[in-house]
Amino acid sequence: MLPVIRVARATFHEAWRRRFLNGILVFAILIIGSSWLFAYLQPGAELQMVIDIGLGSIRFFGMLIAVFLGTRLVPDEMERRTIHTILAKPVSRAQFLIGKFAGGAITIAANLILMGLAFYAVFAIKAPAFVAEKPEDALIFQAMYGNIAKAILLSFFEMFLVLGIAVVASVIFTWVLSVITTFVLYFVGQMADLFQQLSDPERGAGLFARIVLGAAYRLLPHFEIFDMREAILQGIYVPWTTLAKTAGQGAAYLIVVLLIGYLVFNEREV
């Protein structure tokens, strides 16, 4: 366990020295901080716009950080040849891979916390003014604080999954290809319902569509399940059991991804 912690700690410290990550974080906080300005683009739905921009930015910039960090974690060690030094010590490839992932995950968690705090600050300052303009939103406003925290919590699991996919893709492909693969999987994963509907025999799907698209639906990660903005916008209480099931699904998928990464990485020349 100790080697994993050491690799994770080193990865975390190294990640904070990456300028592009700091740049993304600063830009994200700027966008989140100015989300209330965008609110005026949707007259009558200012509060909803703030939430959409704020939480959307957390997810979007979190995803960018996960992709660009995840796809560099292992290849950088290979390019600098430091991987040989690490693996020469009593650190197995599995421990190295898990350590790298854990370091990246802690980095992403720290970034998400900072973005979340920025959003909470904007929300706490601006939302009451928007609610005052539209008193009917007062009913759902109280439920929003708790729901926003839950939405950010789900973003953690979503970004860990993106990070896992990015790390594994970087082990299999070149850097550019791994970035593209992760982006494609993320965007396609947002539209998992499309594959489900297209493979539905009741909607006229043929045998080929049922097999191929049905398999795609079952194999692809379902990123849309981590998005609970609908609940926030409507003031719906989201039970912790639903959160646990969603997190469980993300965790199970993450283990699958990391195991595939381990199988490839273990056989790979470094």
Binding site: Q42, A45, D52, D193, L194, E230, I236, I255, V256, L263
Partner: protein
């Protein structure tokens, strides 16, 4: 294959199998709680495939698609909304594109009320006046009403679209039974005071005098200084309540006589003509009812209710007439309603 590989693959396959029931459980929870994304991508893609691809390409730019896929559905909706205005203002040829994009905005962000309101307004009001064909006009009315009903289904806890739908029934379709129903529905949610008065206006124009008085009474109990409600109550009590009571007692001649007295003083009074038309119908004097409704309809180009009633009675009397869009609309509604539950919509089905 090495042992660790076999173990790993067994775990992978086991987890993938475990994911299936978990996925179904999460999907079920999201469906029950209403956490699913407003409109599945399938539906949006299906619209593009259903002959609207060209419109999609011209209107939906890469930036908008990117914003939508990147999780910024509301931002994408806002960008599209701006584009719709650009198209709409560019002229008639682009209005279809604008309307398609407006529907797309409502698909992307169904909780934004403005697009529902404006889209329905363009359909029921602006496209309505672009043609002289009553069948086409009735179709636009139907589309406007359907658009608002869909909007209400997405936003059932807000008064706005109930009132908007009620207003479209009140002002454009002039189906006052439906208008009153939707205005009443909006009162379950926090709403501005004018909505209470609109309920009264709808019953007044229907006409259903006791219910109109009830509605104004409700308003006055909340705000005794409400001048409109007070004035309406006085007018109704002075002019229409007594004829109404006579009608309920079956003394139709006396009721009509009283109304005629008011009409002598104010021959163009819409409300008096509506009450007289209704009294004549209740008295079984179809010819008088037809003449009264026709008089009201001819007197005001915007009295669609009177024009529709005149057409209905003209058909009964065998008088050749031109069907109005509102008449065609109501006939279609009646046929649909009959198909659904065998009843005919109308004031008799309203619970007092």
């Amino acid at each position: 294959m090495k042992q660790y590989q076999i173990v790993s693959w067994v775990i992978i396959i086991g987890l993938m199998l475990l994911l299936q029931p978990l996925d179904r459980a999460v999907e079920y929870d999201r469906l029950v709680l209403g956490l699913q994304q407003p409109t599945p991508w399938f539906q949006i893609a299906a619209r593009g495939a259903a002959g609207e691809t060209e419109l999609a390409v011209t209107g939906v730019t890469g930036v908008i698609v990117g914003a939508a896929l990147g999780g910024f559905r509301e931002v994408a909706a806002t960008m599209l909304w701006m584009k719709t205005h650009e198209y709409w203002e560019s002229g008639q040829a682009l209005q279809v594109k604008a309307l398609w994009l407006m529907r797309l905005v409502t698909l992307l962000d169904p909780h934004w009320l403005e697009p529902w309101r404006i889209t329905a307004w363009h359909l029921a009001y602006n496209l309505y006046v672009e043609t002289d064909d009553p069948a086409l006009q009735s179709k636009y009315l139907q589309m406007g009403v359907d658009c608002l009903k869909e909007g209400v289904s997405w936003n059932p806890d807000r008064y706005d679209l109930y009132v908007e739908l009620g207003w479209t029934y009140f002002d454009k379709v002039e189906d006052f039974e439906e208008a009153a129903k939707w205005f009443e529905a909006s009162k379950f949610y926090p709403h501005p005071e004018y909505v209470d008065r609109l309920v009264g206006h709808a019953y007044e124009r229907m006409p259903d005098i006791p219910r109109a008085l009830d509605a104004y009474d409700y308003r006055l109990k909340r705000d005794p200084t409400d001048g409109t409600a007070k004035g309406a109550t006085i007018t109704i009590r002075e002019r229409y309540l007594h004829p109404w009571y006579f009608m309920e007692e079956g003394r139709h001649d006396k009721a009509l006589e009283l109304i005629d007295t008011h009409l002598l003083a104010k021959p163009d009074s819409t409300l008096a003509l509506h009450v007289k038309g209704y009294l004549a119908e209740q008295a079984g004097d179809t010819r008088l009812a037809y003449e009264t409704w026709k008089r009201a309809g001819d007197g005001s180009a915007l009295d669609f209710h009177a024009q529709r009633r005149a057409v209905e009675l003209a058909h009964e009397l065998g008088i050749p007439t031109q069907d109005t869009p509102q008449y065609i609309y109501m006939q279609r509604q009646a046929r649909t309603q009959k198909r659904m539950d065998g009843s005919v919509p109308g004031r008799d089905n309203l619970k007092r």
